[in-house]
């Protein structure tokens, strides 16, 4: 079913791992000059990922292309920066996605079943002018689809029959992209070989990453910008400060949000003074728990939008709500927007 070219396209699949095993190459031999080309291509893979967020899709030697993949994993595992690891895994996954969308259906299904142990089959059926090439078990579907933004991936809106979700070829490639990314991150995490003799490469790679075109970091502002609160938080905030009632989940959501937006526990206790059943001692205790000062030591974040929806807390959605999946992301984006407006008005 698979050719050596397929192994070069998809070097993370089971067959590629077996192929490398059969070549008898050991990771500690990489430093020898015999493998200079392999190491060079490995470094190039990482460089392309960091600089272009895209890894090139042509090569001269199948063997070098195949071997350069585990070599790149090995190099990346020697770098401490989590961002670099994620960026590399994502770029490799995107490269594979671009091959997969043009692949024969037989091969897509084969890789999904063999390497990723999907329960899946051909569907080859038309619903409403859309051709669903495959059906995949909902457990495999959910594992990957929950990570993708966009309402079309929500299970409620899918054709689900006897345990299987119907997907198009493009969707299969997109779900596999998620699988591949996860697999590569796992490989990087579990690479236990000690890195010696590659100081030069590691130094260069760290150098590329300083020029990274990562999305501008979205750190939370130091001061709290109330006008940038999402509608759901505004509503709870207003209800709490005007002496109204709030459910347990609403209180948790507001507290976790405010803590992340930079308010101190004492300040939040003051805000809750307005609620009808205010108990200062209890309130402070609970806020400190959410802040991570007590108990588990975990600092909580507010629930994401979909959870707020399930609890009936999501209300008055605006345009920005459709673009985000978490109230804190709304806040970060809205803060940027407000800042820009202020700059425009010469306020900064």
């Amino acid at each position: 079913m698979l050719t050596i070219i397929d192994l070069a396209k998809y070097p993370f699949i089971k067959e590629a791992v077996d192929y490398i095993k059969n070549l008898g190459v050991k990771i500690d031999e990489l430093a020898s000059t015999d493998f200079a080309e392999v190491v060079k291509r490995a470094e190039e893979r990482i460089k392309e990922a960091l600089i272009n967020a895209k890894i090139s899709k042509d090569w001269l030697s199948n063997d070098i292309e195949i071997l350069s993949f585990p070599a790149a994993i090995f190099l990346v595992s020697g770098i401490k920066d989590e961002k670099i690891k994620r960026r590399y895994a994502l770029s490799e996954a995107k490269r594979a996605y671009e091959f997969l969308i043009n692949e024969e259906n037989e091969k897509i299904l084969y890789i999904a079943k063999e390497t990723f142990e999907w329960k899946a089959d051909f569907a080859n059926i038309n619903f409403n002018n859309r051709f669903f090439a495959f059906k995949v078990h909902f457990s495999n579907y959910l594992r990957n689809a929950v990570k993708i933004k966009d309402a079309k991936w929500k299970l409620t809106n899918r054709i689900l029959e006897e345990g299987y979700v119907y997907i198009t070829k493009e969707e299969a490639a997109r779900l596999l992209e998620e699988e591949i990314q996860k697999k590569i991150l796992d490989k990087i995490e579990n690479s236990k070989v000690e890195i010696k003799n590659f100081e030069e490469q590691i130094k260069r790679i760290t150098g590329y990453s300083s020029k990274l075109s990562f999305a501008p970091s979205m750190d939370l502002p130091k001061t709290t910008v109330f006008s940038a609160f999402p509608p759901c938080i505004k509503k709870i905030y207003e209800s709490v400060t005007s002496g109204g009632h709030a459910s347990h989940m609403e209180r948790f959501t507001l507290t976790a949000f405010l803590l992340n937006a930079g308010l101190k526990p004492e300040e939040i206790t003051q805000i809750f003074k307005g609620v009808s059943d205010f108990d200062e001692e209890k309130t402070r205790y609970q806020i400190e728990h959410i802040a991570g000062a007590r108990g588990s030591g975990i600092k909580y974040t507010p629930p994401k939008c979909s959870t707020l929806k399930t609890y009936g807390i999501c209300i008055n959605q605006d345009e920005l709500c459709n673009k985000i999946r978490h109230p804190l992301t709304y806040y970060k984006k809205a803060v940027k927007f407000w800042r820009r407006k202020e700059v425009d008005r010469g306020l900064h």
């Binding site: 329960k119 619903f127 409403n128 078990h137 909902f138 457990s139 959910l142 594992r143 689809a145 929950v146 309402a151 079309k152 929500k154 299970l155 409620t156 809106n157 899918r158 054709i159 689900l160 029959e161 006897e162 345990g163 299987y164 009632h245 459910s247 009808s276 059943d277 588990s296 979909s306 959870t307 929806k309 399930t310 609890y311």
Partner: protein
């Protein structure tokens, strides 16, 4: 005194019937929790190597309620963060508390502990008179509510089999011993699902997030999932003459009708403790009894979940509506009566009656 009586009855049940408690799958990987009568405290993080150890423990401490984890852990006795989660059964909880029934106005009431205001029906979040939220609900077990909960359970099972493809033998239904049903799904595929993924299943069966605009171009009985469920509910021609707004409203009401009313949190919580089947419910003295799926439609919990059906008890009853437990009783108001043990135990557990000695 009252607790002593309930505990004595529970003790009698477990002495005679602890053999009914089946060994949960992979018992040694489960966490157990016990609610004690006296201190009303929960003893948790317990584990047992086999069913006999568990039965002996129950017979010794006589708890008011027994729970076990839907999750499997490498170290079930450790504190939460060290347990090492291995997977969890898929659980659904259907409870009359989450279902609107008209009869709740007749048998449920609530009291505001702040101002003393009392009213009938489901409890509101805040007192309608003083606005405080110190509300104490008094719920009652009624056949109509239980019947409605059963209908929801049957709807859920339909989703689980037709849409999710679970096999009948992997779906187990239990009456909770109070106002609802638990569904446990034992499936290799569901075992590893994390909370976010289970939430998608919850939203699916509850019809949350159905894209109505998309649906309109998609309604077609040949498809499946929600589109098919809705398509088969629509009288197609009745939609044609309607405005878009009215169509949307019609679709929403169909979804509301087809969706299952479950307690979302129970399914999403992958570390949850749930009631152990064939143990007694401390709120009622009734059995959490397994119900064969083929029998579910005809199942009557108010006959089949009776735990102790021998003997009778003379009690003083404060106020209860007419109720059914094997036979009709009541209504009673500030009077003495001699009732069969199960009925007397129910009223005592519910705090509605006292022993007359």
């Amino acid at each position: 005194m009252i607790e002593d009586y309930i505990k004595k009855k529970f003790s009698e049940y477990y002495r005679l019937f602890s053999w009914r408690i089946n060994e949960p799958k992979e018992i040694a990987k489960r966490e157990f929790g016990f609610l004690l009568f006296k201190e009303k405290i929960m003893v948790r993080h317990k584990s047992f190597l086999n069913i006999n150890n568990l039965r002996d423990f129950i017979k010794t401490i006589i708890p008011s309620d027994v729970y076990y984890s839907s999750a499997y852990y490498l170290k079930p006795e450790e504190e939460m963060k060290n347990k090492e989660w291995l997977g969890a059964d898929l659980i659904f909880d259907i409870d009359a508390d989450h279902i609107d029934t008209l009869c709740k106005k007749e048998h449920d009431k609530w009291i505001c502990k702040n101002c003393g205001y009392t009213s009938k029906g489901s409890p509101p979040e805040n007192c309608l008179k003083c606005g405080e939220n110190k509300i104490q609900a008094e719920t009652w077990i009624c056949q109509k509510c239980l019947e409605k909960a059963k209908e929801e359970t049957l709807k859920l099972i339909d989703f689980l089999m037709k849409d999710f493809g679970f096999k009948k033998e992997d779906i187990k239904a239990y009456f909770t011993g109070h106002r609802g049903y638990h569904i446990h799904v034992d499936s290799k595929e569901a075992l590893q699902l994390i909370s976010d993924e289970r939430k998608e299943i919850v939203d699916y069966v509850m019809g949350i997030g159905v894209d109505l605009n998309n649906l309109l171009n998609f309604i077609n009985e040949q498809t499946s999932g929600w589109t098919k469920r809705i398509a088969s509910a629509i009288k197609t021609n009745s939609l044609k003459s309607l405005t878009k707004k009215k169509i949307m409203r019609e679709l929403q009401s169909i979804i509301k009708d087809k969706a299952v009313k479950i307690d979302a949190v129970v399914t999403m919580d992958i570390h949850r403790l749930i009631r152990l089947p064939e143990t007694l419910n401390g709120k009622t003295g009734l059995r959490a009894v397994k119900v064969d799926l083929n029998h579910l439609e005809k199942f009557n919990p108010l006959i089949e979940a009776i735990a102790l059906n021998e003997g009778e008890e003379k009690i003083y009853i404060k106020e209860v509506p007419k109720f059914f437990l094997g036979e009709e009783f009541g209504p009673y108001k500030n009077e003495k009566a001699t009732l069969p043990t199960a009925a007397a135990l129910l009223l005592i557990c519910k705090g509605k009656a006292e022993l007359v000695n």
